[in-house]
Symmetry: C2
Subunit: 1004 residues, 2 copies
Amino acid sequence: MNNSELNNRVVARGKEFFSTISGEKPSLFNKGAWMGKVMDWSMKNETFKIQMFRFVDVFPSLTTGKLLTDHIREYFGEEKDMPPVLSTGAKVAGMLGSFGGAVLNKFLTTNIQEMARQFIVGENTKEAIKNMERLRKDGFAFVVDVLGEATLSEREADIYMNTYLELLDSLKKEYKDWKPLPGRGGDGSLDWGHAPKVNVAVKPTALFCLANPQDFEGSVVAILNRVRKIAEKVIELNGFLCIDMESYRHKDIIIEVYKRLKLEYPAYPHFGLVLQAYLVDTDKDLPELLSWAREKKVQISLRLVKGAYWDYETVKAKQNDWKVPVWTIKAESDAAYERQARMILENSDICHFACASHNIRTISAVMEMAKELNVPDERYEFQVLYGMAEPVRKGILKVAGRIRLYCPYGDMVPGMGYLVRRLLENTANESFLRQSFAEDAQIEKLLEDPALTAERERAARAAKQKAEAKGPGNLPPFNNEAMVDFTRADHRAAFPKTIAEVRKQLGKTYPLFINGKEVKTGDTIPSVNPNQPSETVGVVCQAGTKEVGDAIAAAKGAFPAWRDTDIKVRAEYLVKAAAVARRRIFELSAWQVLEIGKQWDQAYADVCEAIDFLEYYAREMITLGSPKRIGHAPGELNHYFYEPKGVAAVISPWNFPLAISMGMVSAAIVAGNCVVFKPSGLTSVIGYHIVELFREVGLPDGVFNYTPGRGSVMGDYLVDSPDISLIAFTGSMEVGLRIIERAAKVYPGQENVKKIVCEMGGKNAIIIDDDADLDEAVPHVLYSAFGFQGQKCSACSRVIVLDAVYDKFVERLVSMAQATLVGPSEDPAHYMGAVADDKAMKTIKEYAEIGKKEGHVLYESKVPSDSGYYVPMTIIGGIKPEHRIAQEEIFGPVLAVMRAKDFDQAIAWANSTKFALTGGVFSRSPEHLAQARKEFRVGNLYLNRNNTGALVGRQPFGGSKMSGVGTKAGGHDYLLHFMDPRVVTENTMRRGFAPVEEDDDWVA
Amino acid sequence: MNNSELNNRVVARGKEFFSTISGEKPSLFNKGAWMGKVMDWSMKNETFKIQMFRFVDVFPSLTTGKLLTDHIREYFGEEKDMPPVLSTGAKVAGMLGSFGGAVLNKFLTTNIQEMARQFIVGENTKEAIKNMERLRKDGFAFVVDVLGEATLSEREADIYMNTYLELLDSLKKEYKDWKPLPGRGGDGSLDWGHAPKVNVAVKPTALFCLANPQDFEGSVVAILNRVRKIAEKVIELNGFLCIDMESYRHKDIIIEVYKRLKLEYPAYPHFGLVLQAYLVDTDKDLPELLSWAREKKVQISLRLVKGAYWDYETVKAKQNDWKVPVWTIKAESDAAYERQARMILENSDICHFACASHNIRTISAVMEMAKELNVPDERYEFQVLYGMAEPVRKGILKVAGRIRLYCPYGDMVPGMGYLVRRLLENTANESFLRQSFAEDAQIEKLLEDPALTAERERAARAAKQKAEAKGPGNLPPFNNEAMVDFTRADHRAAFPKTIAEVRKQLGKTYPLFINGKEVKTGDTIPSVNPNQPSETVGVVCQAGTKEVGDAIAAAKGAFPAWRDTDIKVRAEYLVKAAAVARRRIFELSAWQVLEIGKQWDQAYADVCEAIDFLEYYAREMITLGSPKRIGHAPGELNHYFYEPKGVAAVISPWNFPLAISMGMVSAAIVAGNCVVFKPSGLTSVIGYHIVELFREVGLPDGVFNYTPGRGSVMGDYLVDSPDISLIAFTGSMEVGLRIIERAAKVYPGQENVKKIVCEMGGKNAIIIDDDADLDEAVPHVLYSAFGFQGQKCSACSRVIVLDAVYDKFVERLVSMAQATLVGPSEDPAHYMGAVADDKAMKTIKEYAEIGKKEGHVLYESKVPSDSGYYVPMTIIGGIKPEHRIAQEEIFGPVLAVMRAKDFDQAIAWANSTKFALTGGVFSRSPEHLAQARKEFRVGNLYLNRNNTGALVGRQPFGGSKMSGVGTKAGGHDYLLHFMDPRVVTENTMRRGFAPVEEDDDWVA
């Protein structure tokens, strides 16, 4: 049959389908009911939709009347301003007035719960089973799924697993009594004569809290260990187990789990896997899976869905500068679905197919393809979601005789998340159900071959596409360097390989680099791997005052020519250096893993940030570089522009050894200054890579000079030098303030008052509001506090939890911490590694001891017994603002937990230290978020996310108070600190004649 | 006759006129000749026109072959790139090649001189007379005018006057022998039977170098004294004397000179005055003059011209924010001309009329009106410029029988200026001659009634006009406050009146102002008039550490509320304070005249600048105030915004007592900081006016605190206070560096690292290039050096003159200085007044003595013998870069003159001090100007103008090196120094759903 013939049949079948259900509406769109009204309003009013769905999301955490009343007001305004769907409803329910709040609370509570019940088959096992039995009586099979909060700990994973085991135990008692659903298959004990009556779906990431492609093998094994137990119980019932697919990030892990499970029980036919047609990968994953099954000679089952996380996948990809993994035109997903369904049906001998869709075109296409390919009934079935598309399920039952409803059940909290996803899906402009039942789109259009639709839309999009945007100086616009993508096997493989290669190069001696020449000194110090201090990463020559003096002189000598070098040329060096760093990105990351103990992702992110600084400042300088005309009086040209200050001393820390160094160095250089760079003694080998980068791109001699050295020997000399015009420092408050004080003295012969760009410490707090989404808050706090052992000036070192959620938060946080491991950073199974050096280890341990006296230990991890500089992951509760560990920067994995009575107190405590660097808030209260924006006075405040990992250009970084002098690295103001502004004013009038400039203010 | 009938006759006459000259072309547009080619190219290519006319302007100063060759290249590029009119000409003249430069030099020199000869009747008296006699033979009368460089001294004024006297002496010998031109008048010894054969025009401002409406009476008297001598000689010859009109600035002075001269010789009929139809004022000036003549019963004569300085008048007005004094539509001037000509003709009984125009419509209109009004021939005549519009003059001669040519003569240098004006006039798009003879516009259109044309163009303009631009926060866009306009009689009168009023209020006691309350202290100091120290301006309470502490506490207390006050509300206080200052502008100026000895214009400019700061920073803050989204990743909102730092100490100088104080105070306040303000002890009464301004607008208590005090008592206390977060200082380098050093120390309890905004001294140089226009350079240098007694950080204290022009420049500079007077600032006759106080007087005198030893005195003025703090205006020559007075800031009226061998050396010397504040260059070399832009490294560089008087928003002010820390007051970066940036990042994705923001980077 040719395509067009098949398509005609599909369309005909679709029309017939529509006609059989003509006049019916899914209850979702029934405007007579409250939910239908909400759906209607949401489709008409985007703001209401956002507020409503967010409110539904936060709703289960509003456990008191006051919380509920407050949130209703915050989300929807005062009663008088509310949309009619709320206020009218409330008025009907019982006049608003002095008791209006309570009435509205009751009204919304009832209705939201009602709405949830539409999609959720029950709140507990018993209720779910009862309702599913009722569905069976109506002729519907089920696949049951347990809703759960995000799994954040081993305990929660066990609970989730045990719920399945208990569910299966309960079903075991019942299912045999169920009358099989009628069908043409041969086995009378099964539904339709071939299908197990018990069918369960399971979300694999709920079975392991640290599932993560960086630790691919660890994740697969951990998930498999729990899935196996469920599988065993399913086999006991001769049931069906489906492994659900979740976000793209875990796709390959889940496929691997499925394959391994399958091979453990190769003969058992009823294990299924979900594939998502909206993923571009599926066109590759599906044939691979089919080949694998043929090769392994196993029967598999695939449920094909379109995919429910389109927004999420797109947003995550865009945020990380990854290729968007989903089709970006809806019809492309639909077309992919038909393409892939056909492939599965063509392989029906080895693959059972579950067609999960509410789209009548899709369903009709599958029916016609199956017919064309003569696929037997028992090799495919249809699935729809419980509570949705009732006319569709009725139609399928009528035509195909076999349909299975996907039935989630569980608590309100996870239930609301599920509800929101369903509401979003059905209010999306491109929703088939919305178009079919809420908007009465033309049936012809709904049934069009999606491949044609997609082609048309691609053409339309191409036509609309503007010329590619140009950034400054005809460079492409700035974009952050893409984060490492451990969903890619090549990225996962690169680390162990590159670390091994780098390891072969350890122990070399590194010279200074002054005026374009390598300079060796007799004084050297070794730089070691903190996870294994016996491993010497490199031996680094140390500059004394003589060498620093030479470097300053070299920089001073190179300055005039560099200052006068065309700005675009200066910028070009940075862009080229970025290209070199990009080429060497895994290698540069590997050096960080070994020299300072960064985890893979942390190391890679540091190199990305270094590249970002190079690319960003190059563009910023081009933008700032061209003189701007100011004023518009005719006969007068005023040009405002910037000039470099002179010789810059850049003194950098070890914790972002490439990024922060490169940030300060590249800003200074591109602005036209020449640099004397002193890296931290702990990361001087990484510092030397900056020499390599700039040498490779041919930066002129003397512009960049590398002088590692002992602060006690050459620090003051560098700071005091009258030839230094600018000091860029990032490090501790003590050293920073010392530099500020010393540098303020002007010495004879000194040309400029020294400018100090100074980033110092932090004592950063995250506030957990009483309505926070703990599924989000807990892992983000853990990461913010313990990522790279808490050795970030941005790291969370205080978590201030509102009393109402304190116990639950702490319980989940500690549980999650318990799941983590401490050990060498190069092994991705370890959440935390060693701290920077023995001195840091000692200081942090002392603070932990102070904390233990001031409060009480909530958690203290084990550490490896070997010689690395390990400090336990430490969480201390009962901390008050006056305690030392609530005030002093620790710069290590010690987290103080504080119980605040309310949000005001939390904000006050958060602001109560001498620092003001980063902060975070987890809240779903619009008013509290607004209050935090205003009153939580830190340089970088993060709402509902982790508070580390500021990105160049997006989260310009830096704070005030004792955290810094108000500079923002990676921001549009930053380069201004490296230059002085100048104005040139020309009187262009001669003999009464002034040339006309385009923007002159002549007479209109 | 009704209008339309008259117009018909005018048009008919015009057509006849055109037909009589049909086929003829002015030599100007003869493309066969070089000048015609230049005109043609200039009309086609604006860039060439600018370069050509500028080249013509600089040409006479190119006194060596090298200078000439260099400038040809700089203006027109390499020979291969030159426009054909130059290179072809040169090729024709004698092939370009290795001797190309010399050939081109010769070619251009010859042609430019030829071009000048077109318009200039001779280079000296003898040649001029010879040529005028020749003209008479052709039937043309003349009015002769002596071209002169700008008159910069009494000597130059005398030379100019003497040239006239000699001219008249020469004419005296000749004119009687001349055959009178034929005419219908009755006196056979006169031209046309009624007109004197000798007719001279004189430019009054050439007779007094300091002519200036601020000193109206002084200017009138000085001009009259010289004009009288010329007039007496004219009377001896029974000649005609015409007082030419020049720029608008001197119009009322010139009218007054004419009236007084007229009344001195009431019976002598042959004194004429020029009026300019393009001035809007002329519609008022003309009837006034006629009434005056009737009242005084004198015969007058008016030459009506359109006006030749349209560009200049427009540019000056726009630059000073004055109403443009000229009609802005060309036809409006033409219509005004006809209107005014009619009025003159209607008064022909008392007023003789010279119709000076090349416009055939205008001429025809005058002819027809005269006919209609029966004006006798002897009551009107026609004038055209020598060398222009030959067909027109021929036509007039034919029709009217009497035409006078305006014949300038004189040196090449002033001749070139005259030439450029003529070239501009004839290449202007709206030039009647260009339209008539170079573009063959339709005769109908050329002859249209200009009143109709004007009306049509006004309507077209109105239709085109856009909605008025809006500035930030719906305020009007920022515009500088209009400068005082001494052409206005009300502005002139306001000063003596207001000074007298203020004088009545002297001697009051001024309290401190802390937390909204006046606070008196026992310790007071008087503030005195430096021109008259016995006059106590006010008695000022002095803050001790107790009061400063109270003020800091008040500011700290007020800070949270002020910080949280809406930015627009904060800005509104500034805008309101500006309105109050604007209302009180003359009074606030008068206080400055008395308390610190500012001249009228200087005082007014200071208040304008204060108003500008208020208006500018208000708008800047509104612009900066709204958080900006950065980055475009969906699901992520990053907002970048600024917050105030806390309590600001503002320490201000006495030299711009309102402006600089208000600048720092208003920036701090609008940014949200609270201020403790310490004014200079010399200007604390003016400082108190800031209290008054802010009280009147109701600024909340504690936001602004006024604490004058002795630096020795409370200076360090203020600077050291841990509660101060920001210090804004303007003053000397010594104090500035002390503050920087002290403030860098962080004290216990201190919240922030102190931010220092610090403007310090200067040692500013102006370079005089060998091709500089000395007419411009000399007065600008004098003003830059001695305006307000040189007490500006921007003042010129070194003038570096290229050897080639050194002698001429110095001669003219010293001569001009000699013309100035030193005395009480409140008398506008005084160029300079007393310096700030006895301490300043002593220091400056010491420096003058040092200078006298290091170099030699070129000029030292007299000073009044009374008790004011007077220092002579001192110019010292022979200064080398190593001399103290070439290196140290003097801050008074001592100017060092240095002779540099070339431009490179001049730049090197200019940059050779520890300061980098302002600088200036007078040059007409494009390459040198470009070099200076790059290499003359100062905060504010001025090309071809004075180097003081930076305007807010147009010349943001401030320097680097020891002049400051790279801040630019009145610039768009300035407020950033008063705030810390913050970033708030919100993860907007919940449950996989992220609201779409307008500028999100979703999939295209």
